[in-house]
């Protein structure tokens, strides 16, 4: 990891303003669009089979998120993913709750078989499920705390030949050779829906800015964990997850290389 390269991405994303095409879930679609704007990129959320291939032609990165996957949306993801591969833009895959049902496993398996993804981001249970483990997913939440996130990230990165991000108390990013740990964060990030989805969006915003997907993943993951930490710290008394979510968006909006340089806590191993 080159700290300067990661740090520079915070101004680069704002000057290059990449277009991030999302095919995502109905729960957090608004938050994902707003966080795209907050970090300095532009969102488009087209999901129709009639237009996703053409929309990809305008985009700099593609997010595929299976949080409320349905048959038609899945078809759109396959079309968009192939178009993204042909065009050479990065595909960021968020396998929300993949361990929860047979259908999600099938969808994720088919996506990974047919589309070359640049980056996968999930919690430990989700990544474990992707590589055939039995990490228990309970709905869309992280289930099994016994999993070793570093091992999972490394294994999955090698299996799928991509960068893998495992979100958790400590976040892990691996490209199959290197491993980086991000030690920022706050427990309240697990008490607001969509912080995982928004992290994938942040990663995609950076991946639409640079070909260095390892650095983009570190930038995106650390942006969320750092903003969460700062937002929590700045809350006034009596605040709960309502104000925390608002403040989280504010912190991401104001995040820059200076704040990042001073506050981020990253270990390489």
């Amino acid at each position: 990891m080159n700290r300067k390269v990661v740090s520079d991405l915070f101004s680069l994303v704002r000057s290059r303003n990449p277009l991030v095409h999302h095919i995502t879930n109905m729960v957090t679609i608004n938050d994902c669009a707003n966080v795209t704007l907050a970090i300095g990129a532009s969102p488009v959320m087209a999901t129709s089979v009639e237009e996703v291939e053409e929309m990809v032609q305008l985009a700099n990165a593609l997010v595929l998120n299976i949080g409320t996957i349905q048959a038609e949306t899945f078809s759109a993801m396959l079309l968009a993913g192939k178009a993204a591969n042909e065009k050479g833009i990065p595909v960021i895959f968020d396998p929300v709750g993949v361990g929860a049902t047979t259908y999600r496993k099938k969808v994720a398996g088919e996506l990974l078989a047919k589309i070359s993804v640049a980056i996968i981001r999930g919690n430990a249970s989700e990544i474990d499920s992707l590589i055939g483990g039995k990490g228990k997913t309970r709905g869309v939440d992280a289930g099994d705390n016994s999993l070793d996130s570093k091992e999972l990230a490394m294994k999955a990165a090698n299996l799928f030949s991509c960068v893998v991000v495992v979100s958790g108390k400590v976040d892990i990013v691996s490209n199959g050779k290197e491993i980086v740990q991000i030690e920022n964060g706050d427990i309240w990030l697990t008490k607001v829906t969509g912080t995982g989805c928004m992290t994938s969006t942040l990663i995609a915003s950076f991946a639409g800015t640079t070909d260095d997907y390892f650095s983009a993943s570190i930038a995106g993951m650390s942006a969320m964990s750092l903003a969460g930490e700062q937002a929590r710290r700045k809350l006034s008394e009596g605040a709960g997850i309502g104000q925390f979510k608002v403040k989280l968006m504010d912190e991401i909006f104001h995040l820059d290389e200076n704040i990042w340089g001073k506050e981020v806590s990253i270990l390489e191993s």
Copy 2:
């Protein structure tokens, strides 16, 4: 009603952390997921016919909300509802705007005929429409103020053999024998979209915690009305429904048996 039993649910829901499966509308799906987390439960919002039956196997309660009902979502509701009945977890039905169209009446009628619901929550017009009355629903808002909510709740509870919650200026909860009135609340709860849907979610969170659905309904309904009252009281000058909605989520997040015990105003009759 046993006040202690209801009061204890506020810590129980946080320790048991039930999984609440929602098949709900596109308008308030994010708010419902967040309010599930705020009260101490976990949300999952899978809506695809391919997976809802399997998702129900992981869940402790199921919410069916027809706010933006479509044919495919309706099919998913029937599958999920039957699976919930077989598994023995409670189904909470929110008949949003049921009086507005023939299609909604058909959908609601079929759901109630084919699925055994544990709890129904709606406004007076919606509950009146369910029992064949002519209470005018104007879109998804409460329409007719002339209806007697107590009578409606009692009638509907007996007709559908379940607990019925009628939200309004005074909220009514009935199990067909007993009737409870909740006198907390604030008019601004009608000025934010989704407070009804979120109330159904709160009720489901408690119903996923205990088999006593009457107490669960009282806990959920009073949680929203009480939090709304507190949120309004604590707003600073110049605040409007934007800040009110944020504060409402904060208040639900901080609600516990002590606050509830001190502030709730419940009458039994």
Copy 3:
């Protein structure tokens, strides 16, 4: 333009409380429902082909927004639009990102051919694309700054025989003869998703209040630009787009003819 007529709409919308039926995108559907309530109207967001025609019978205005258009939703729009024309309620069309894909162009073209719309609101690129220009739409954002909004508004208003609103740094409203410029606003309105969609909703709320669609369009467009300006001014230090969005809703909620009369900056030309 009659300033008094526009100004009076702010109290009229609250007393008449029109029902605004939306068939809209999944990204900003919650914000649109809340802004409808904030200005004093009532929202309903039914999107199913099974019920939209019947729902239109209850409505005072219909919004068609193609932000995440899909085949089934498009069918619903055609049904609802025809029903609205027959009933004589205004149709407000928001051609989100119409220049981005062939599918959106086809959808917009067919809607405008088959349905008589009362008001169109878009950014300069979108309006240019509707009248056959080559204004580059980049995803759903305004693309090309070289376009002359006044000329676009006038041309489109005459071509489609309706009122046209072109949102931008300066907002333009034209009925094909008169042109009005609104000079309020704030750059942060472009940094929150859905401010365009919400503007269309505000316009529809006023158009559901009066037959004078030119005045309704001026009221709705200026309400958003003025509220954005006020919200930005009142933000505390450290606030970002999270708090801005919350404050924006507060400002719209409190907007009345006095604030509007004092603060709005409108030029007729």
